[in-house]
Symmetry: C2
Subunit: 423 residues, 2 copies
Amino acid sequence: MREVNIALIGLGTVGSGVYKTICLQKQRVEHKEGISLNLKKVLALEYAIDIPDSLKATDFYADIVSDKSIDIVIELIGGISPAKEFILAALGAGKTVVTANKDLLAQHWPELNAAAKASGAGLYFEASVGGGIPIIRTIWESLQANEITSMMGIINGTTNYILTKMAEEKLSYEEVLAQAQAQGLAEANPKSDVEGYDAMYKLSILSSLAFHARVPVEYIYREGITGITLEDIKYGQELGYTLKLLAISKREGNTVQARVHPTMIPNTHPLASIRGAFNAIYLHGNIVDDIMLYGRGAGDMPTASAVMSDVIYAANQASHKYTTFYNEKDASSEMTFEKNWESAFFLRLIVLDAPNVLAKIAGIFGSHGVSLASVMQKEHGSESVPLVLITHKAKELSVKQALGELSKIKEVTSVANAIRVES
Amino acid sequence: MREVNIALIGLGTVGSGVYKTICLQKQRVEHKEGISLNLKKVLALEYAIDIPDSLKATDFYADIVSDKSIDIVIELIGGISPAKEFILAALGAGKTVVTANKDLLAQHWPELNAAAKASGAGLYFEASVGGGIPIIRTIWESLQANEITSMMGIINGTTNYILTKMAEEKLSYEEVLAQAQAQGLAEANPKSDVEGYDAMYKLSILSSLAFHARVPVEYIYREGITGITLEDIKYGQELGYTLKLLAISKREGNTVQARVHPTMIPNTHPLASIRGAFNAIYLHGNIVDDIMLYGRGAGDMPTASAVMSDVIYAANQASHKYTTFYNEKDASSEMTFEKNWESAFFLRLIVLDAPNVLAKIAGIFGSHGVSLASVMQKEHGSESVPLVLITHKAKELSVKQALGELSKIKEVTSVANAIRVES
């Protein structure tokens, strides 16, 4: 039986899951794959789980990089430094690297890629996006004959948990966030999740891979869920929509749009049924048509499943594949990143309950080339009442200009929210 | 650039899709994969699409098996013979075979596998189940570290189309089937789909692969949708359930249960939202937890996407992986195939509208160890009224015995339907 010698760096949630998985599934992998997973070294700042002393490394370079018998390094310490230095050193020594480090990949992929290519080592990162969902391998090894033209994903579990709970239990954002924090489902400082940064990094990786063109985070529009109210969700439901934080990217020719924002989708859309902390990625390829992958987007064991799938996959490869980017050096030289994309809008306005208000509002939208698909006004009588509009597809800037103009007329008390709609 | 020489056998729906995909995507594959897809020969009984004469083969053995330059044979003629002879000859000549032939695989997999192993050729069959959905590769190359313990799939598009249409438009089975036949979505003789044979073959392949144990079709319980009425669907909806034809298999130790039958699932289950002709497979692995893949389960281009993913994948492998079955020779020697599994039941009875009827019915269920989870009786006044029951989980045989006894008492006019419930 072929032995694969592994070093594991980092013993946090995912690292511990990987350690447990190797112990639990070693025999099964030997039977199925004919590979003996031999964990040779573990390096961590703290050993929160029980690890034999003989496995504990003290110095990455002396104990791991210099150990010629080690084939694969699993990097799970996260962050940029020293993860980047460690990965470059491991790749430089010809060791295949398996990582879950989305921040690092989103920001330094070409450099890591070049180091892997130079030494012939593999660079695998299934666990960087979507936890246990095999979305990277699917793009890489199942949709090779496709041109992927669009992608919509629920790729942050915390925000999907919050939005699901708000919708199903009719609770406010603040209440659910506090509950989620108490349960450890949201961090004390939830910014990375609720403001869409986490989804943005993941979208950068997925889009770059799917489009074979780097989509750096600085070209991704980002808007979180902190401005979402229960009213928005309820009015959306009445109109047949579910509110999700979606990571969206589309490619047409060499033009790419990439954006993370709250989005209304029809209840009949498969993404609408993704509840709680689950993740799902919905893709369109020119040959395969629509496809969706669903699963746990985080957690020790689901993410360990993805890490170990990379380890076993890499161990079976005689040589490794590398992503090729059209815009390797300068992201914007070969690609155009569209900011003025088209989408429909769900608009919640507070307006005076007076004759001709709707006509005036529709007129202003019309003057900006924005037409209305549906209108809902349920309350009457009080001075100011909510008016909910769904527009047809329109240019982003046109809708913003129309809303700017509307906010100045006396009939509109406020533009309470503007949420994009995808179908 | 590395050339991969391909022969394509069969030019029906999927074969034509493969031909088109090679023409359309050749350049893209060259750029992304560094592989030049070179279609050398096409063999078909009829050439319904325009193919250069130089590509047309007349004899499989002389033109394809004997052509040493051909690396990969794509078999899309379907059926057992001559597909089996062709595949064995190609494998014997060391040529990798890519096939969509679910009947052949379900019935002769060990023999094909042995031929592939003997010559070192690859045997790939992503397109045999789930059209464009990469479920085979996911089990094979993404869930390697998992023990897959259960699987539920919507793997027949025709029946899912029929059930969706009945539920959404409140039409009878007969009406929708006729519509589907008129539109070419169901065959003139729909037996293979509506009686669950197609799903049974696919479940055999998926379960065998997932459990690493052959699950031959003769051990799969099969029940189609011909007995489903709009009443069943409507009562299910009132109780929060969606009716689907599910292919289900579960493994516990060396005991496997495998069954295809109409199933009520909670509306909140991800499979409940799979509409129309789409397919989805929902898996549970001991490490990854729950995972679902969704996409088009049929059609020329989606299935071609799966075929071409196998061709490109195979072309990138220095050596090929083979499935190993615990019960290679005699399926039942190492495995137990459970017929008396546990599941909840949705029961629609027609009963006399008289006092104590429910108590008597509950008593009979109780005497067989079957307890009731919920009861719905909406109509009153006429002599016979519908009574809908949901049981707790119970043994298959216990429920059948209880129903047999019930059908004999005067208070029960008839057992209109008994549909299993999964959650």
